[in-house]
């Protein structure tokens, strides 16, 4: 789509002053936000193995997607009327994780991708998206977790250095359903993810976990929104990030909205950042809005700190050299969340990547 065509659409082009965009370097979005991008339908997301029975993956006409005021998502929807839809059929329990990957290299155009994951009632599955290679991609992902269903969704951003990834991951979680997500962002030039959860039925729960590690020049933003629209839903958010190197910049926003009808809500969100060098910047903004007092609990915490000298001293006093001690502390910091992936190959790969980034950034010396 050309810039001219996009002007016909009634989409607000972010200027950078808007609350949702105030941290994002718009110039580095390859025109995804203002309609100037040369867009394509690459369908880069592909299943890694044959899909088990009870699971299908098709390209279909888009039906109702959740409304959003995110300009990039609006442009993706205006661009494409088809979606790639993954369906886990009713009552299916899929034992093995379903792996998808993007691994191509194309920096000439911007892929606008529309994806849907539909977990039908009482089905259970783990879906893993492995993003590597170098792409410029705007991703509109709609997740529906049907009544009593259970989805673990893992999205790995192990991009190459030139990638740009802007995505909205919106999960609608029905009655008694469980949605768990793990977001890992360790590569790319700019990654901006909007994990959002709408509770659509009582008894539903969501756990949003994430880790990110930004080194020199990288910008990683995770902007979370959990909407407690219904009574008796539970949410947990825990994101951990590390930064090292000049102009490494991360943004974590945790918006939790407890509406008047959401009695019995139980929510807690946490963001911890480890600043491993000078010149890096971690923004962390938890935000809780509460319209009813009839709740089980609501809380948040946010910390940003440096290496703990006492921990390093303890490890080194046992003969462990400074670099290894730092590696241990950083790995330890991330282990709590990475170990939840429950896939040894992926966990080892992520930890190795973190070791590499740490070494590259020189953050283990001195």
């Amino acid at each position: 789509m050309t810039a001219l065509q996009s002007n016909v659409l009634d989409i607000h082009t972010p200027q950078g002053r808007e609350e949702a965009w105030r941290f994002t370097p718009l110039k580095r979005l390859a025109g995804m936000h203002d309609g100037s991008a040369i867009t394509s339908l690459l369908n880069s997301l592909q299943p890694v193995q044959a899909l088990p029975s009870g699971v299908s993956f098709d390209t279909v006409e888009a039906d109702a997607f959740s409304p959003t005021d995110d300009a990039i998502t609006q442009r993706i929807r205006a661009f494409s009327k088809t979606v790639q839809r993954l369906t886990i059929s009713k009552n299916s329990e899929i034992a093995q994780p379903i792996h998808f990957s993007r691994s191509m290299r194309d920096l000439n155009s911007v892929e606008f991708a529309r994806i849907q994951i539909v977990v039908e009632p009482h089905a259970k599955a783990t879906v893993i998206f492995e993003n590597s290679g170098d792409l410029r991609i705007g991703e509109d992902l709609e997740i529906q977790v049907g009544a009593g269903a259970h989805l673990t969704f893992i999205s790995l951003q192990e991009w190459g250095a030139s990638s740009i990834h802007a995505a909205r991951h919106n999960a609608v979680v029905e009655r008694d359903a469980t949605f768990n997500s793990i977001i890992v962002t360790v590569g790319g030039s700019l990654v901006r993810l909007l994990p959002t959860v709408e509770f659509a039925g009582p008894g539903s729960s969501a756990e949003l976990l994430g880790v990110y590690f930004a080194t020199a020049g990288q910008f990683f933003e995770h902007r979370i929104f959990v909407d407690h629209l219904v009574p008796q839903a539970k949410s947990r958010v825990n994101y951990k990030g590390a930064l090292a190197g000049q102009d490494a910049h991360t943004v974590w926003i945790g918006d939790v909205f407890i509406r008047a009808a959401a009695e019995g809500t139980d929510t807690y969100e946490l963001n911890r950042n480890l600043l491993l060098s000078d010149g890096a910047r971690a923004d962390s903004v938890p935000n809780l809005e509460i319209e009813t007092g009839e709740i089980v609990g609501a809380g948040h915490a946010s910390t940003t700190g440096r290496f703990d000298d006492e921990q390093l001293f303890y490890l080194m006093s046992r003969g462990i050299n400074s670099a290894d001690a730092r590696r241990l502390v950083v790995r330890g910091f991330f282990t709590e969340i990475v170990s939840q992936i429950k896939d040894q190959v992926i966990e080892d790969r992520i930890m190795a990547r973190i070791d590499d980034e740490l070494a590259k950034a020189g953050a283990i010396n001195g």
């Binding site: 921990q311 001293f313 303890y314 080194m316 006093s317 046992r318 462990i320 050299n321 290894d324 502390v329």
Partner: protein, 250 residues
């Protein structure tokens, strides 16, 4: 046979109100197989001495020397001191989130021995050390000191003493916070280390009860940043009866 020699050690810490001298000239020599007890009032600088020998970055050495078999300890980084054969069992062991005890111990043993211990033998070694200190095997998979009770942290320190086999070990109030059974178990651990590897021990304590299990060859009274009196085990009994008043006001 190893010798740790501390001569005229002066140490200060930086505070909001400038540098404060804590150690004011400490002289002490510890040889393999010897056990030295240091007793002294709160705040007299005992932990400062222990940390300074181990190389904690908070402390600034302003004078004196520390050598281990002639090698300049003060020139060494913290890990080099451990590799040279020094060990500090800390008064307040530090929690290291996300790092399991087994990973920590193996990393430390690999660093100190210069090669990774053979997995099968190592597992047996750790299991034996844990059993000897009556620690539940589940501790191996827990994070270092995280959620450990005070007594469990101290057992974990002594377990490291047994596994890492230093030449000279400084035990900073290892007996504090131990119940009577734990005190015996931990003391037996120290005595095993003395027997098996002839470790020289500097034992910092407030109580004579641990000295019933771990017999000191020398007792030093520490006050106002230096050693003010030295004697044999009988000095500990005198301190217990009379306190530190005569030294503090001296």
């Amino acid at each position: 046979m190893s010798t740790l020699e501390i001569r005229g050690l002066k140490v200060s810490v930086t505070t909001e109100n400038g540098d404060v001298e804590i150690l004011k000239g400490v002289d002490l020599t510890i040889k393999s197989g010897e056990t030295h007890a240091i007793m002294g009032p709160n705040g007299s600088g005992k932990s400062t001495l222990a940390y300074s020998i181990a190389g904690h970055p908070k402390y600034t050495i302003t004078g004196g020397t520390v050598t281990l078999d002639g090698a300049d300890v003060l020139e060494m980084s913290v890990d080099e001191r451990a590799k040279a054969g020094l060990f500090l069992a800390m008064q307040y062991p530090v929690e290291v989130p996300g790092v399991s005890v087994s990973n920590f111990l193996r990393t430390a043993a690999t660093a100190l021995r210069g090669e990774a211990p053979k997995l099968r033998e190592w597992v047996g070694e750790v299991k034996g050390a844990m059993e000897a200190l009556k620690m539940d095997p589940s501790f191996a998979s827990r994070n270092v000191n995280e959620g450990f009770s005070g007594g469990e942290k101290k057992r974990h320190e002594i377990m490291q003493l047994e596994l890492l086999k230093p030449k000279i070990a400084i035990l900073d109030e290892t007996d504090s916070g131990l119940d009577v059974d734990a005190l015996r178990v931990v003391s037996e651990g120290v005595n095993r280390a003395k027997e098996n590897s002839n470790v020289g021990v500097l034992l910092i304590t407030h109580y004579t009860r641990i000295l019933k299990y771990i017999k000191p060859d020398f007792v030093h009274v520490f006050a106002n940043g230096k050693i003010v009196e030295e004697g044999g085990p009988e000095l500990a009994d005198k301190l217990e009866a009379q306190g530190y008043e005569e030294y503090v006001n001296a």
